[in-house]
Each structure stands twice: as C-alpha cells, then as structure tokens.
Amino acid sequence: MNLYRYASPATFHPLAGRLVPWFAALAAALAAAGLYISFFVAPTDFQQGEGYRIIFIHVPAAWMSMFIYIVMAFWSAIGLAWNTRLSFVMARALAPTGAMFTFVALWTGALWGKPMWGAWWVWDARLTSSLILLFLYVGYMALQAAIDDPRRADRAGALLNLVGVINVPIIYFSVKWWNTLHQGASVSLTRAPSMAQTMLWGMLVMALAAWMYTIAVALVRARTLILERERQTEWARAVLKEEA
C-alpha cells in the first residue's frame, strides 16, 4: 500500500469529526446573536416597516450562495492542479449547501418582493442571477450524480465548476445590463434606504453564522464521502467497526 496517498484522508476523517461540534456550536451562538440583532436591536425601517427584516436572511444567503460557488471553484482548481482527492471531496461536499442557500435567497427574495413590489417574482438583476446560479449548482450536482466512477466525477465536476466560475461575473453583468435596459431601476432589496450600522452588523453576524454552519455541514458530508471511497483501507475498516 502506498501510505502517502492514504495519509491525508486517514487523518482528515477523525480531525473533521472533532471539529464539527465546534463549528456547529459557533454557528448556533452566532445565529442566536444575529437573530437577536435582527429582531430586537435593529429599529423599524421608516419606509419598509418590519418587512425589511427579511434582509437579515436574504443578504447573508445571497452572499453565501456566491461565496460557496467560488470556494468550490478554489478547491476544484487545487484538485486539478495537484491531483489531491480531498479537495475534490470538499468541492463536492459544499455544493448541496450552496444550492440550499441559493434557494433560500430566492425564496426570501420572493417573500420580500410581494409586499414591496406587489409581485412574488420580479425579474430583478439580483434575483435573476441567483436563479441562474441555482441552475449552475443543479448542473454540477446532476453531472456528479450521473457519473459512477468517482475519479471521473471529481474531475468532470471540477472542470464544470471552473467554467461556471469564469462565467458567473459575465452572467451577472449581462443580467444587470439586460435589467437596466428593460425596466429601469426599482427599489432594490439590498440598497435599502436607511442602511444603518446595526443592520450591517446584523447581516455580518448572520453571514458568519452561515459560514460556520456551512463548514460544519461540509465537513460532515466530506467525512461520509471519504469513508465511502476509502472503504477498502485499514482506517476505514476501523472506523466502521467503531461506529454503530
């Protein structure tokens, strides 16, 4: 057995197992603080009333949906450049959470749009590019699901991910361009008129909570993926014996 190649998954699995509870706890604490700020510290908006409190979910979710895709591309690039399996696994483990946050951004955008714009869905630049980002996530996951050979799935997914990340700014720009041509500027969710300091803090704390949650969830998913792939190895056998 070539020890070097198996060394990193074998150490990653228990390490990730130990880290998960810490990240989960941090996520819970930050989320509690963020919710407190969103509901009890941030004052009522004079224009949008209480409805604006949706941004404390919407904006962090929209940020996360972008960040996670970029982080995935980072892992994909590392995996392709240095042929490290763990980075492919990390990219793969992040995708469902990224898709989840994209969905949340769309959902909250729609719920904000109904009272503010009078329609559940408006072809606003941000919502539209979020929708296309969701398509990109879905495509990535569908490609991975369709390929049985993990080696090919890793690499094919990574390439698609990289093409996607090159395209995201172009898509975003084109949608924005299209939007300004077709309907002019409307009240934007993120450019709320009174962007007070407390609101910014609330969104930042919520975004941090989302980050910690994402890390915890991705680590759990990566552990499972690695265990599945390395089931033939000594350490995986030992882990399976321990875990009931």
Binding site: F135, A142, L159
Partner: protein, 222 residues
C-alpha cells in the same frame, strides 16, 4: 498545426455530408420551434415583433444543443475519438476544430434560415440584418461552450438531457446580448454595444473553451 485543424474540420464536414438526415433534424427543429410561438401566443403583429428576436435566439440555442449531443458521441462510440486524441497535435486544437466544424455544419444554416423566420415575426429589414449579424457572432460561442458540455457528458446515461442542464445557464449572456442587439435596433437605441459585448464573449470563449474541452475529453475518455 493549421493543417491538423483543417483536417479535423474537413473530416467532420465529410461525415456530416454522408449523414444528411441527422443534420437536417436540427435545422427543422429550429424552424418548427419558432413557428410554434405565434400559434401559442396569437398573431398580433406588434406582440410578435417584440418577442421575435428572443424567440429566434432561444430556438437557436435549443437547436444548437440538440446537435451538440452528437459532437463527440459518435466518435466515442466507434473508437475514433481515441485516435483523434492520440493524433500528434494538441488536444485543444482538436476541440477547437470540432467546435468550428460544428459551427459550420449547424451554425451557418441557422444564419441562413433566421431572416426567413424573422419575416414571420414581422421584423423590419435593419433588424433582420442585425439578427443575422448577432447570430453570426453568437453561434460560434454556442458551439465552443457546448463542446465543453458534450465532452463532459460523453457516454453518460441521459447525456442528452444532462448537457442541456449544464450548458444552458452558460448561454445566458449570449442570449441576452444577441437578442438585445436586435431589440436595440427595433427600439432605436442601437445595437453596437450589444454586438461588441457579444464579440468580447466570443474572444473569451475562443481563448478558454478549447483548453477546457480538451481537458474534459481526457477526463471522460480515461
């Protein structure tokens, strides 16, 4: 190098010429999809003129995707893809040649059909010219990006649907700039900005897509 590129293009054109049935399918699909829209929406001329550019462009995207499924699949099945990959030239050159061939075989006919379809939607002459021009700049991008999808989904079950899922989101900028150019002409705001953005997208696709397609082919053939 150029010789290899030309050899690849000539090869695909020769093969397409031997199988004209396959080739005509995508063209007729393009015609039928566009002709269905007035039936679904109603023959009101002003309405048709507004949606015309978008409909023609969306149909072009779909027709392109329809033929992309076979870009590498036939060669993969009969083993000639392996021979192409082993040829003494860069694989990126192969991917570029395949994309150019795809554009000549499937893209250029779209350009020729599009004005006729534009007339169905009551587009004026200047808008028709811009429509053809935007398709001329935009369809090579579709072939180049689509090549990546075709390479990634090579030999997978449900590859035909999967490629749609992977590639359509990447086509969004082309659709926006392409249809936007025609819209710009119709509304009098001009098409130059759209066309130059479309040109920029084409340059980027030319620089990046062949390399990624080549890597994807390597991954899929392995």
């Amino acid at each position: 190098m150029l010789r290899f590129l030309i050899a690849v293009i000539r090869r695909d054109i020769l093969l397409a010429a031997r199988r004209r049935g396959d080739w005509l399918t995508a063209q007729f699909f393009f015609i039928m999809v566009t002709s269905l829209f007035p039936l679904g929406i109603g023959p009101e001329p002003a309405m048709l003129r507004t949606i015309g550019p978008g409909v023609v462009w969306v149909a072009a995207l779909l027709a392109c995707l329809l033929s992309l499924g076979r870009l590498y699949a036939d060669d993969h099945r009969d083993g000639s893809l392996e021979q192409l990959l082993l040829a003494p030239y860069s694989n990126a050159l192969l991917a570029l040649g395949k994309a150019i061939a795809h554009w000549i075989i499937n893209g250029i006919p779209l350009l020729l059909i599009a004005p006729v379809l534009g007339i169905q939607f009551g587009l004026p002459a200047d808008a028709l010219a811009v429509l053809v021009l935007s398709l001329a700049i935009g369809t090579p991008v579709l072939s180049l990006l689509g090549g990546i999808g075709a390479a990634l989904t090579l030999g997978l079950r449900g590859g035909g649907v999967l490629i749609t899922l992977l590639i359509l989101p990447l086509y969004v900028p082309v659709l926006i700039f392409g249809a936007g150019a025609v819209d710009g002409t119709l509304s009098g705001t001009g098409a130059e900005a759209h066309l130059s953005l479309l040109g920029a997208v084409l340059v980027m696709a030319l620089l990046v897509a062949p390399w990624i397609s080549a890597l994807a082919l390597r991954v899929s053939v392995e």
